[in-house]
């Protein structure tokens, strides 16, 4: 049965890679069809990834986000979903090209880490856990998408400021569009992240008897949350936008990655399901 799961995940990885390659071909070569290929393959990749995930959930009889392997895969899956949703509302297919490296890294990482299904300790079994995981991951996925947008913004802004008005300048979207999209990602991601933290806290009070226990993951998600809260506040009240907002989004994304990976790989605490 494991071979089916691995093949589905492998197919998703292959399609994400195809999407990235065709996306970059589009950036550097005048082939109008390349971008369509890129978009279609990321969509197809999502379908395979979703099948893999559902298959896994069926096997584990729970929301299959219980160990490192499943978290990586789930994060990539939600990031793809976030991209597809946002792209539907505000079409910017080239964003897929800039997000696909993240998809590839996480899907590949998932493929090389241990696939063993971790039996859940009874203490973790509750309705609140999957909710907490789903909300936090979804929030992080939108914020990671905003990171992709921020990278494109800084690249395009650099080209315009330095007056390099050729080549990929033409293929990249307008600054204003990018800034709006960055804001949209923040407005979607931040509330989800907030709800994720709240639901986690509720669940913690059932499972561990305390809402907040200052373990490294909790501390770092608070730091992340504060960063994005500051960004949202600045955007709403102080006219933060453009370059400044993009830089902060990137710092925020680094905090997300540290909360997500660094804490698990480097520090230990209640959340270290990896060990």
């Amino acid at each position: 049965m494991d071979i089916i799961y691995t093949s589905l995940l492998g197919a998703a990885l292959t399609l994400y890679t195809l999407s990235m390659v065709t996306g970059f071909v589009h950036l550097f070569r005048p082939l109008p069809k390349a971008l369509i290929w890129s978009k279609n393959s990321i969509q197809a990749g999502f379908v395979f990834h979703l099948l893999a995930f559902l298959f896994r959930c069926g096997q584990a009889q729970t929301l299959a986000v219980t160990n490192m392997h499943e978290s990586f895969s789930f994060f990539a899956l939600l990031l793809t979903l976030a991209f597809l949703l946002v792209n539907r509302k505000k079409p910017m297919p080239i964003l897929g090209t800039f997000v696909s490296p993240l998809l590839i890294i996480f899907t590949l990482w998932a493929l090389v880490t241990s696939h063993t299904i971790t039996p859940q300790p009874p203490i973790l079994k509750s309705f609140w856990l999957p909710l907490h995981v789903l909300l936090s991951f979804a929030g992080n996925a939108f914020l990671a998408l905003g990171f992709g947008v921020a990278i494109i913004y800084l690249l395009q802004e650099h080209l315009i400021k330095k007056k390099k008005i050729k080549g990929i300048f033409r293929k990249l979207p307008a600054l204003q569009r990018l800034d709006e999209l960055n804001y949209l990602c923040l407005r979607l991601g931040f509330p989800l992240l907030t709800l994720g933290i709240i639901s986690g806290s509720v669940w913690a009070s059932y499972a561990w008897g305390a809402h907040w226990s200052w373990d490294p993951k909790e501390t770092w998600s608070l730091i992340t949350w504060l960063l994005f809260a500051a960004l949202l506040h600045g955007r709403m009240n102080s006219g933060w936008r453009g370059r400044k907002a993009s830089l902060l989004t990137i710092i925020g994304f680094a905090a997300i990655m540290f909360t997500f990976l660094g804490v698990n790989l480097l520090l230990s605490g209640l959340h270290s399901y990896a060990h």
């Binding site: 005048p30 007056k163 008005i165 979207p173 600054l175 006219g239 936008r241 453009g242 370059r243």
Partner: protein
């Protein structure tokens, strides 16, 4: 049967000569009729734009073709042929095909890659086909021209970049603001280039134009043209926070706008970006403002550089386009060649059909009591024999891709006495 084209363009002839040889589009149907008669063309097409006058057609005798075409031009426009004959180019066969494809793809244009020529060619073809002066070959030739023009447009970057300063400014503004609808533009001073750029911006849907000038009357005049608002020169700095795009071209020896004014404006407009275009020499806007976040400053040299690079790029892309055109020329020649063998194939088939029908009739006359089923089987056998017999010669003919009258076709016609049959 040959494709021929004769004409002159912006490179070979002055605008006076082009004017005198131009055709009015309403007079084209009659001119086409005259062209076909006088130049002995079986199909004809006239393309007349401000940059070129071209006659294109299908001729069956190249000998006098060039002279006939020149005479037609001279008689039609009633000017002596010596006045323009040396400015003409004359292409036949594959050169004419290539020339037609290059014209359609805008590789032969004054500004390489400009898109108007394709529309003009389509109009010319429309008129010619309406007055039924085009036929099988020119129809296909034109359709292939439109096709290759589209190929060149999508597969090379030949037409993707602005080649004028004012249009380069519009293109940049679009990459900053995305959509120019609802934007406000301020014109400082009244240079010609500034005005042209403002006109481009208005075409792109900017909402409002503010105009300021040291002479308030001039500002009002210009504002009237764009149905905008005139602002006294002393007050324009206070309005900077209202506008998204600033076009400046005054004769001022000093900077009119510096980082201080713009920082203030940015604060008031909550950092919404401002795009400044400084067309003045000496400059009106302190180059330091480009270091401010959300401020984008381009001066006339920056824009000129963009334009020059774009022109260079067009030249490079034009070379890639030539390759695409060459490929298409080869394909079209193959089609023409296949056209040349088509009558031979047809006659060959008719000949054997005639023979087998005659022989079948004779044979069947000797067997009056054959059932209809048996008759049909005999007929089928004769058909099968003739088809199988012709299979190889026809394939051989089809595979030949020499242009014009192909040698194999001639040989086969001789072997099977096809010309004799025809003359009977």
């Amino acid at each position: 049967m040959h494709i021929v084209s004769l004409g002159l363009n912006h490179q070979t002839a002055s605008v006076e000569t082009r004017e005198r040889l131009a055709f009015k589009s309403e007079a084209l149907p009659a001119a086409l009729q005259q062209l076909k008669e006088e130049a002995c063309l079986s199909e004809g097409l006239i393309l007349s734009t401000c940059n070129r006058v071209e006659l294109c057609g299908i001729s069956h005798d190249l000998g006098q073709c060039r002279e006939k075409l020149i005479n037609f031009l001279a008689r039609y426009h009633q000017i002596p042929s010596e006045m323009f004959a040396d400015k003409l180019y004359f292409h036949t066969d594959s050169d004419a095909i290539r020339h037609g494809f290059r014209v359609a793809s805008s590789l032969d244009s004054m500004v390489v890659g400009e898109p108007q020529i394709l529309g003009q060619l389509k109009d010319a073809f429309f008129i010619a086909s309406e007055s039924s002066s085009t036929g099988l070959i020119l129809n296909r030739f034109m359709h292939r021209s439109f096709f290759i023009a589209k190929e060149v447009r999508t597969r090379t970057k030949i037409a993707s970049c602005a080649v004028s300063v004012s249009f380069a400014a519009v293109e940049l503004a679009k990459k900053i603001f995305g959509d120019l609808k609802g934007m406000k533009v301020m014109l400082i001073g009244a240079g010609e280039m500034c005005e042209l750029a403002a006109r481009h911006f208005v075409n792109q849907g900017v909402e409002q134009v503010l105009v300021t000038n040291r002479t308030f009357g001039r500002a009002q005049e210009l504002a009237g043209e764009f149905s905008g608002i005139a602002i006294p020169f002393e007050k324009f700095r206070q309005e900077l926070d209202q506008v998204d795009i600033v076009l400046s071209s005054t004769g001022s020896p000093d900077y009119l706008i510096g980082p201080a004014e713009l920082s203030q404006a940015l604060k008031k407009r909550r950092n919404r970006p401002i795009f400044l275009i400084d067309i003045a020499v000496p400059r009106d806007i302190d180059p330091k403002v480009n270091d401010l976040d959300n401020i984008y400053l381009y001066d006339v040299d920056d824009l000129q550089e963009v334009v020059t690079e774009n022109l260079d790029q067009r030249q490079q892309e034009a070379q890639r386009a030539e390759v695409l055109v060459d490929l298409e020329v080869v394909k079209f020649e193959q089609w023409l060649a296949s056209l040349a063998v088509t009558p031979t194939i047809k006659e060959l088939r008719e000949q054997i059909k005639e023979i087998s029908e005659q022989e079948l009739k004779k044979t069947l006359a000797g067997f009056p009591d054959l059932s209809s089923k048996e008759r049909r089987r005999l007929e089928a056998m004769v058909n099968a024999i003739s088809n199988k017999f012709l299979h190889h010669p026809i394939n051989y003919l089809k595979s030949q891709d020499g242009s014009g009258e192909s040698l194999p076709a001639t040989t086969i016609r001789k072997i099977f006495h096809l010309t004799e049959n025809e003359s009977k």
